[in-house]
C-alpha cells in the first residue's frame, strides 16, 4: 500500500469516526427534565396516589366514587365501597368519566360561532368577552321587559346546582327553567305520584326479594340505578338467604333478560295487560293480600282473554301469578317494557297495582318508597316538557336560550322539528364542555368543568329508602380553560347585575355549596351526631364522600284513584302492519346510554354485552325473520318508519320476537368528537314525535318499521367468533333443583 493511500484511509476513517461520534451525540435523547414543585401541595407525595371521594355524574344514579389521583392527574375512578348506592361497584360508563375529563375533543376555551348554526364552526374568545356577551344579551332582554323570554334547559340536575340555576332564572324574572333527558323515567314518577303520592321512583329491594318480576327493566346495564340494582342482584342470587328468581317480560332480551331464569316475550305494548292479568289471577285465586280497591277494575283483565292479546299462554300467566303471590317477598318492577310506550303511565300503574295486590309495598324485599329524607324539597315539574320549549320557540317566545348537559337535538325525533324551532331562537348559549348536536346550534359556548373538576352535591333519586347526601369535589385542577358551572351562573349574575346580582351573592360556587350544606346540616339533626360542629362535619363528609343515615321504612298504598289512568288497551304503534311489519324497539345500550357515552373511546371499544358489536350501530333481527327476508348477518338494511329511514347492519339475535326489531340508541352523532362523529345511526330520528301529555316522557316504543335491503354503510364489527359452545362445557351450569340439594359454601 502506498503512503498516500494509507493517509487517505486514515483521513476517511477519521472523518467517518467523527461523523459517527457527532451523530451519536446529536441523536441522543435530550436529558429528561426533573421539574420540582414550586410550592409543594399539601398532602401530596409524588409517586403515592391520593384518593378523593366524589360522585359519578354520568347518569342520574349518583354512585359514590373514589378517584385515584397521582401528581395532580386523575388516574382511575372507582366505586366508593362505603357509599350506600353502589357499595364499591361502578359501571362501565362511570369508570369512563376520566376519559371525559381528559377527552381530546373537549371544548378548551369559550367559543363564538363563526359558521352557520349547526355547523360547529367556532372562534375562540376570552372568558371575559364570553361572559360580557351573554350578560349583555340578558340585560337587553331585561331592559325590554322580556325576561320571560329567557329559557334555561339543563339535564336533570339535582342538589345545590339545581337550586342555584333555579335561583338565577327566577331572579332574572323568568319561570322557564326546565330539565330534559331522554331517560328521565317521568312516566314512572308520574305513576308513583298518582298511586302512592310521591313523584319519585321508590327503592326496589332487589337484594332481599325472592321473586323478581321485571317488566323490561334492564337494571343490569342502564335502567335507573344499574350499579345499585346489580349489587342487589348479586346478593339476591348468591347471598346469605335462599336464591331469588328473576323473570323478565320484554319483547327483546336485554342484558338483564339474559340473566333471567325465565323470559316472557310478550307482544310489544301489551305488557301492562299482562301485569293486570297476573294481578287479576292472583285476586281470582284468592291469593291477594290487599285487593279490596282493585277487584272491580281487575276483573276486566281475565288471563284467558289477555293470553292471546299478550301472546303468552294462559297457563303461563297463571303459573306466574301463583308463584308471584306465593313466593315471599316478591317484587315487580315497571321497566321500559311498560313505561316506554305512549301509555307508559298506565303500564307503570298496572305494575304498582300488581305489587299492591301481592302485598309487596313497604316490605323488605319489595317496593320501599323514598321520601324527601333530607328536606331539600326536590320535585319533578311534569309541566316542563320539551314540547313546551319547541312550541315556545316556534311562537317566538324564546329570545335567549341557555343549554347545559341536555342534548335534545340528538334525543328528539326528527319529527319534533326541534332544529327548526331552535333556528327561531335569536340567541343560544351553551355551557357544555363537549361539542354535541345541541351545542353546535349555540351562538356562544361557555365550557363548564366536567364533574371531576367541579364542586357539587347529589341527593340520589331514587334513593335507597335512607337519607343520602353526597358531595362532588374537584379532584384535579381544570385541564382546560373551563369554569365551574356554578361559577358561570354566579359570574353571569354579577355581570347581569340588578336584582340578579342582589339575589346571588356568594363569591363562588364552592362557598355557595358549603352554605347550602350548612343549611342542610342545621335542618337535619342526625347529621350533627358524632361531629364537632359544621366544619368537622364538612371535612368528614368530604373524606367519606358525603353523609348517609340509616334506612327509614316508609310505606304507602296504591290509591284507587290511579285507576283512571289505566287505558286498558295495548299501546299504539305508528304505521300500518301491512306496510311496516315490525315493531321497533330502540333501547339504551350499556355503554352509550342515551348517546352520552359515545365520545369515550373505552366505551366505543367495549363490546356490547349481548351482541359483542363495537364501534357502530346494528339492528337485531330474529334469525327466522331474517331467513324469511333473505338476510344474512352483516347485511346492510334500511329501517324505515313512516317518519324516516336509517340504515344499519343486521345482527342475528335469537333473543327477540320475530315480529320485532331492535336498534341501540347512542350512535349516529353528527358532532360529539372524533370517536362518535359520523358513526352508526340514531334510531330516535325515525320515531314519531310522541310525548306523554301528563308526564312529558317521550314514547320510545311507538312505531313500526319495515326492513329493506340495499343500504350502504359501515360494516358490522363484532368481537365474538361464535356464540355456540359446541358442548365444550365452557359456562357450566347446575339446575335450580340440583342447586337446592347442594351444600352452601360459607363465606
Amino acid at each position: 500500500m502506498k503512503r498516500r493511500d494509507f493517509l487517505k484511509f486514515i483521513g476517511i476513517g477519521g472523518v467517518g469516526a467523527g461523523a459517527g461520534f457527532v451523530l451519536g451525540k446529536v441523536s441522543k435523547p435530550p436529558g429528561a427534565k426533573l421539574i420540582p414543585y414550586l410550592i409543594p401541595p399539601e398532602d401530596i407525595i409524588p409517586g403515592v396516589a391520593t384518593w378523593y371521594a366524589s360522585v359519578c355524574t354520568l347518569c342520574g344514579a349518583g354512585c359514590g366514587t373514589l378517584v385515584r389521583v397521582m401528581e395532580g392527574r386523575a388516574k382511575k375512578v372507582e366505586g366508593n365501597p362505603g357509599h350506600p348506592i353502589n357499595r364499591g361497584g361502578l359501571c362501565a360508563l362511570g369508570q369512563s368519566s376520566v376519559q371525559a375529563l381528559y377527552n381530546p375533543d373537549r371544548i378548551t376555551k369559550p367559543l363564538k360561532r363563526k359558521g352557520p348554526r349547526g355547523s360547529g364552526e367556532y372562534a375562540e374568545i376570552t372568558w371575559d368577552e364570553a361572559l360580557k356577551t351573554l350578560a349583555a344579551n340578558l340585560i337587553e332582554l331585561k331592559s325590554k321587559n322580556e325576561s320571560e323570554k329567557f329559557h334555561l334547559l339543563t339535564s336533570p340536575l339535582g342538589g345545590t346546582i339545581d337550586r342555584l340555576a333555579g335561583e338565577f332564572v327566577s331572579a332574572f324574572g323568568s319561570s322557564n327553567y326546565s330539565h330534559y333527558g331522554l331517560f328521565q323515567r317521568k312516566n314512572l314518577a308520574f305513576a308513583n305520584l298518582s298511586t302512592m303520592g310521591t313523584a319519585s321512583i321508590p327503592h326496589y329491594d332487589i337484594e332481599n326479594t325472592k321473586y323478581l318480576l321485571s317488566f323490561g327493566a334492564d337494571f343490569s346495564s342502564t335502567w335507573v340505578s344499574p350499579v345499585n340494582y346489580s349489587n342487589g342482584y348479586g346478593k339476591m342470587r348468591q347471598g346469605t338467604g335462599e336464591r331469588g328468581k328473576l323473570v323478565q317480560v320484554e319483547p327483546r332480551l336485554s342484558l338483564t333478560g339474559a340473566n333471567a331464569d325465565e323470559w316472557v316475550p310478550a307482544k310489544p305494548g301489551t305488557e301492562a295487560l299482562l301485569a293486570l292479568a297476573i294481578a287479576n289471577t292472583i285476586v281470582e285465586k284468592g291469593l291477594a293480600r290487599d285487593a279490596s280497591a282493585w277487584r272491580g277494575v281487575l276483573s276486566r283483565y281475565k288471563a284467558k282473554d289477555m293470553a292471546s292479546i299478550c301472546d303468552v299462554p294462559v297457563e303461563r300467566i297463571e303459573a306466574m301469578a301463583v308463584e308471584f303471590a306465593r313466593t315471599r317477598p316478591s317484587l315487580a318492577i315497571a321497566g321500559d317494557s311498560v313505561s316506554s310506550y305512549e301509555n307508559g303511565i298506565s303500564g307503570a300503574i298496572a305494575v304498582n297495582i300488581l305489587n299492591q295486590v301481592a302485598g309487596n309495598i313497604g316490605v323488605i324485599g319489595g317496593v320501599m318508597p323514598n321520601g324527601d329524607d333530607l328536606g331539600n324539597g326536590k320535585k319533578i315539574d311534569f309541566g316542563r316538557k320539551i314540547s313546551t320549549l319547541i312550541s315556545a320557540a316556534n311562537a317566538d317566545k324564546i329570545k335567549t336560550l341557555i343549554v347545559y348537559g341536555a342534548n335534545p337535538v340528538f334525543t328528539t325525533p326528527k319529527a319534533a322539528r326541534l332544529e327548526e324551532a331552535l333556528s327561531k331562537v335569536p340567541f343560544i348559549a351553551s355551557f357544555s364542555s363537549f361539542m354535541d348536536e345541541t351545542t353546535a346550534h349555540a351562538d356562544i359556548i361557555l365550557p363548564a368543568h366536567t364533574s371531576l373538576e367541579d364542586w357539587g352535591d347529589d341527593f340520589p333519586d331514587p334513593g335507597v329508602a335512607a337519607p343520602v347526601a353526597s358531595i362532588i369535589q374537584p379532584v384535579v385542577s381544570p385541564v382546560f380553560e373551563t369554569k365551574s358551572l356554578g361559577d358561570i351562573f354566579i359570574e353571569l349574575a354579577r355581570a347581569v347585575g340588578g336584582n340578579v346580582a342582589g339575589k346571588i351573592t356568594a363569591p363562588n360556587f364552592a362557598e355557595y355549596l358549603k352554605a347550602s350544606w350548612k343549611g342542610l346540616y342545621s335542618r337535619n339533626r342526625e347529621m350533627a351526631a358524632g361531629t364537632l360542629g359544621f366544619e368537622d362535619f364538612w371535612n368528614k363528609a368530604l373524606q367519606r364522600g358525603g353523609w348517609w343515615g340509616p334506612s327509614r321504612k316508609m310505606t304507602a298504598t296504591v290509591s284507587a284513584r290511579a285507576g283512571e289512568h289505566l287505558t286498558g288497551a295495548p299501546a299504539r304503534f305508528e304505521g300500518e302492519e301491512a306496510q311496516y311489519p315490525f315493531y321497533l324497539i330502540p333501547y339504551a345500550q350499556t355503554a352509550y346510554m342515551d348517546g352520552r357515552g359515545a365520545n369515550l373511546p373505552w366505551l366505543q371499544e367495549l363490546p356490547d354485552p349481548m351482541t359483542s358489536v363495537v364501534w357502530g350501530t346494528w339492528v337485531e333481527i330474529n334469525p327466522k325473520t331474517a331467513a324469511s327476508l333473505g338476510l344474512k348477518e352483516g347485511d346492510m338494511v334500511n329501517i324505515e318508519s313512516p317518519f324516516g329511514k336509517i340504515s344499519a347492519p343486521v345482527y342475528l339475535y335469537p333473543g327477540i320476537r320475530p315480529d320485532t326489531v331492535a336498534v341501540p340508541i347512542g350512535q349516529g352523532h353528527s358532532h360529539y368528537g372524533r370517536y362518535a362523529k359520523g358513526r352508526g345511526a340514531n334510531p330516535i330520528e325515525i320515531l314519531p314525535y310522541k310525548e306523554d301529555p301528563l308526564s312529558g316522557e317521550a314514547a320510545l316504543n311507538s312505531t313500526r318499521v319495515r326492513i329493506t335491503r340495499g343500504a350502504t354503510g359501515e360494516r358490522l364489527v363484532k368481537m365474538e367468533g361464535s356464540t355456540k359452545e359446541f358442548g365444550r362445557g365452557i359456562v357450566q351450569t347446575v339446575s335450580p333443583s340440583e342447586f337446592k340439594r347442594m351444600k352452601k359454601e360459607v363465606v
Binding site: G13, G20, V22, L23, G31, K33, P36, I45, G47, V48
Partner: protein
C-alpha cells in the same frame, strides 16, 4: 471503483466505531444544570442530611427534588448575593420551577421504589456515590440490570431475582 468501495467500507466501519465510542464512553454523566448547585457545599461542607431536601425518599417511590420554596426557605437569608442564588430567586419570583436535568433516569418498565431501599437500610451512597464530594452531581452507577442484580444477590433480597419484583 474498487477503491471507492474500499473507502466506503473503511469510512462506514469508522463511523460505527465512532458512534459506539460516543454511546458507550461519552454519555453525559454529569450534565450541566440550570443552576450550578453544589452537593459538596450542602451535603459535604454543611452536613445537611439527604432527606432534609429529598423528603419523599422514605415515603415514596421517588425521592423528590426539593421544591423551590424549600430552596428559598434558607436562601432568603443565606448567601443572597451569590449569582447562582439570585438565579434561584429569579425562578421563585417568576413563579417557575427550576428545570433540573435528570441524571439518574430509569426506563418506564422498571419499578424502583426509593422507599423500600431506604427502609431496608441501603445507604444513599450505595447508588449515588459520595455526593458530598461532588460539586456537580455525577452519575456513578450504570443502572444496568446486572448492577441491580449484583446487589440483590449480595444482600439476598427475598424474590430479588423475580422479574416482577422490579419490572412492571
Amino acid at each position: 471503483m474498487k477503491k471507492l468501495i474500499l473507502y466506503a467500507v473503511v469510512g462506514g466501519i469508522a463511523f460505527v466505531i465512532g458512534y459506539f465510542v460516543n454511546d458507550q464512553f461519552f454519555s453525559d454523566r454529569a450534565p450541566v444544570q440550570p443552576i450550578n448547585f453544589s452537593h459538596k457545599i450542602h451535603a459535604g461542607d454543611n452536613q445537611i442530611p439527604c432527606q432534609y431536601c429529598h423528603i419523599y425518599a422514605e415515603r415514596s417511590r421517588v425521592s423528590g427534588v426539593p421544591n423551590v420554596k424549600r430552596c428559598m426557605g434558607c436562601h432568603q437569608i443565606i448567601k443572597t448575593d451569590s449569582p447562582e442564588i439570585q438565579k434561584v430567586a429569579s425562578y421563585w419570583d417568576k413563579k417557575e420551577p427550576i428545570p433540573w436535568v435528570k441524571v439518574y433516569n430509569l426506563p418506564d418498565h422498571v419499578y424502583f421504589p426509593h422507599k423500600r431501599h431506604v427502609r431496608a437500610g441501603v445507604d444513599c451512597k450505595n447508588c449515588h456515590g459520595d455526593v458530598a464530594s461532588m460539586a456537580r452531581i455525577e452519575k456513578v452507577s450504570s443502572l444496568q440490570m446486572g448492577w441491580c442484580l449484583s446487589c440483590h444477590t449480595k444482600r439476598e433480597v427475598k424474590n430479588g431475582h423475580d422479574c416482577w419484583t422490579c419490572h412492571k
